[in-house]
Amino acid sequence: MRFVFKTSYDADISLFKHRAQAVWYGLLLLLVLATPLYFVVIGDAYLLGEITGILILAIAGMGLMLLTGHTGLPSLGHATFMAFGCYLNINLLGAGVPWLIAFPLSGLIAGGLGTMIALPVLRLHGVYLALATLAMSMLTSDFVVIAEPWTGGIAGAAVPDINILGMEINRYSTPYKFYYLVLFVTILIVWFYRNLLRTPTGRSFTAVRDSEISARAMGINLTRTKAMSFFLSATAAGLAGALFGHSAGYVTNETFDLVMSITLLLMIVIGGLGFIHGAFFGAIVVGIIPVAIANGRTFLSTTFDVNINVPGLESALFAFILICFILFEPMGLYGRWLKIRTYFELFPFYRKDMFKRQKSYLKTDRVQ
């Protein structure tokens, strides 16, 4: 166990708990910065594209994590906010707004619109909020159709390439640039997120999550706080949507559907609700499993000439793996990560039973 002797309040406030942690995250940063090198060496950027996709998922996941994991508001409608971001970005770019302005702006407007939509349902809790946002998700495709002049409706819309001060960025033709761009946005959002959690705003979010009554008694305005969380959350989702558009190249009314919303929720739950790490762990799992399954299948067929072509097997396998993840780690992968860390920190004093799950019992959600 590491004992940290804090000598000033700074120590509590700083981004990292102790020096070693800062070093580890520094190394991680170096690693992600250097990742493309590997792909340059092997001369094949295919998997880099998937990694970029994971980062985009993680951005959206962080958005949802803030709302669901830190404010306690479940949402099955985050694909809607992604749609906002994506279409706003397309339209702003189409109107000649430079990407550097259009991109953040589309996130912010998505956040604003998301908040406006969410305002009337902020009183809701638990299942009801989940179902209200689900309804929102179900209506998204209809509204994309209704807003055809801006969205291309059913026929869809092509997403223009990114142009930063004359530098063209496209997912396929310049995969490295696109990776670094997405990475930059990701890191920026992580930094914002961390800041939020160590300041009053973030604390008011978790307060609302843990006890609305207490939060009010401490002077926290529920509606405002929830709206704020929705705004930030939808903004992140909007930015992810805009990036997703760039990575897809073409979007239609069916792109941002309920499945996408569900995937996001799924992601943060198996990643670990209530931890920034959770968004990344979840994105990695959700992003990698399908790639692994697909490549595994191809590998089987090329190397062993075993052709597995059962319709829906991928989805079922994916679902099966998810079930295993949840069964064996209901607190999410972040929980598993903590255990592994504790094991090394306590070595050799770790007891196997240390994390044995104690019996736990739920109480009703219907008393709020």
Partner: protein, 291 residues
């Protein structure tokens, strides 16, 4: 006359939503878990019955196949809880939701693999038989749906409010720990209610499939049933039926008298409106915490 016809078919259709919603509510009332796979359970129930009764499969007598498939589905619901959810006892409801979503994928896969992805009809003895009177057409299937749904709702309503085990189910959902302190076998009760909801799913599936064809993606209907359950007030059995009827009626009315597209928006728009003005649905089951 047209209008009446519209209402009748709307009611029949609403009952299907109501029946699926009933399945959600059963589970919610007893465990507070939300089963995202209820629609898929229904689909599976229909396919199981098809497997028993259709000629290309086992070709059993329909009236034998129906109870058989209800039993099989009840067993599957029980097993699902026993084999998977039981290990999640006391964990957050969100994890359980994710599990049921994943289960939905697997059920769809199994149904597709066993019965193919193509639409299949259930061979019922009353297929295409109608009662006609004064310009009104009433399918036997529709009559059956209405009768069965009303009956099941009533039975479950009485079960939950009058029987000891029904009360114990409600207790178990409100406070699992306290339920154990009272000696209520909470896990067994969970399995039981999952079994019951599997049976209800089978009934819904059979009735639905007898009204038209069914394929592995039919489970999508579950989403509209969600809306129904929430409109009625998640956790209220009569609410589930009412919510189902509301959606069932609004849809055909909107597509008959509204501009194209409204009928698909309507269920969700109604859900949002109701939740805005009555955050717990019509028969609200929520309560403010006293401090």
């Amino acid at each position: 006359m047209d209008f009446l016809q519209l209402i009748i078919s709307g009611l029949a259709n609403g009952c299907v939503y109501g029946l699926i919603a009933l399945g959600f509510v059963l589970i919610y009332k007893a465990t507070e878990a939300v089963n995202f796979a209820q629609g898929d359970f229904m689909m599976l129930g229909a396919f199981v019955c098809i497997g028993f009764t259709n000629h290309e499969y086992m070709g059993l007598n329909f009236w034998l196949a129906v109870p058989l498939s209800i039993l099989v589905m009840g067993g599957l619901g029980y097993l699902f809880n026993w084999g998977i959810l039981r290990h999640m006892f006391g964990q957050s409801q969100t994890s359980i939701v994710i599990l049921t979503i994943a289960m939905g994928f697997i059920i769809r896969f199994i149904a597709g693999a066993v019965w193919s992805h193509e639409p299949t009809s259930l061979e019922t003895p009353f297929a295409g038989q109608d009662i006609r009177s004064g310009g009104l057409v009433l399918g036997i299937d529709e009559v059956l749906i209405v009768v069965v749904t009303a009956f099941l709702t009533l039975v479950f309503f009485l079960f939950f409010s009058r029987t000891r085990i029904g009360l114990a189910m409600q207790a178990a959902s409100q406070n699992q720990l306290a339920a154990y302190y009272m000696g209520i076998p909470v896990r067994r009760i969970h399995s039981l209610v999952w079994g019951l909801s599997g049976m209800v799913a089978a009934v819904a599936g059979i009735l639905f499939a007898s009204k038209g064809a069914i394929d592995p993606s039919t489970g999508l209907l579950g989403i509209k049933a969600f809306a129904a359950a929430a409109i009625g007030g998640f956790g209220s059995l009569p609410g589930a039926l009412l919510g189902g009827l509301i959606i069932g009626l609004v849809e055909p009315l909107a597509s008959r008298y509204g501009p194209p597209g409204v009928s698909q928006i309507a269920p969700y728009a109604i859900l949002l409106l109701i939740l805005i003005f009555r955050p717990g649905g019509i028969f609200s089951q929520t309560q403010r915490k006293k401090v």
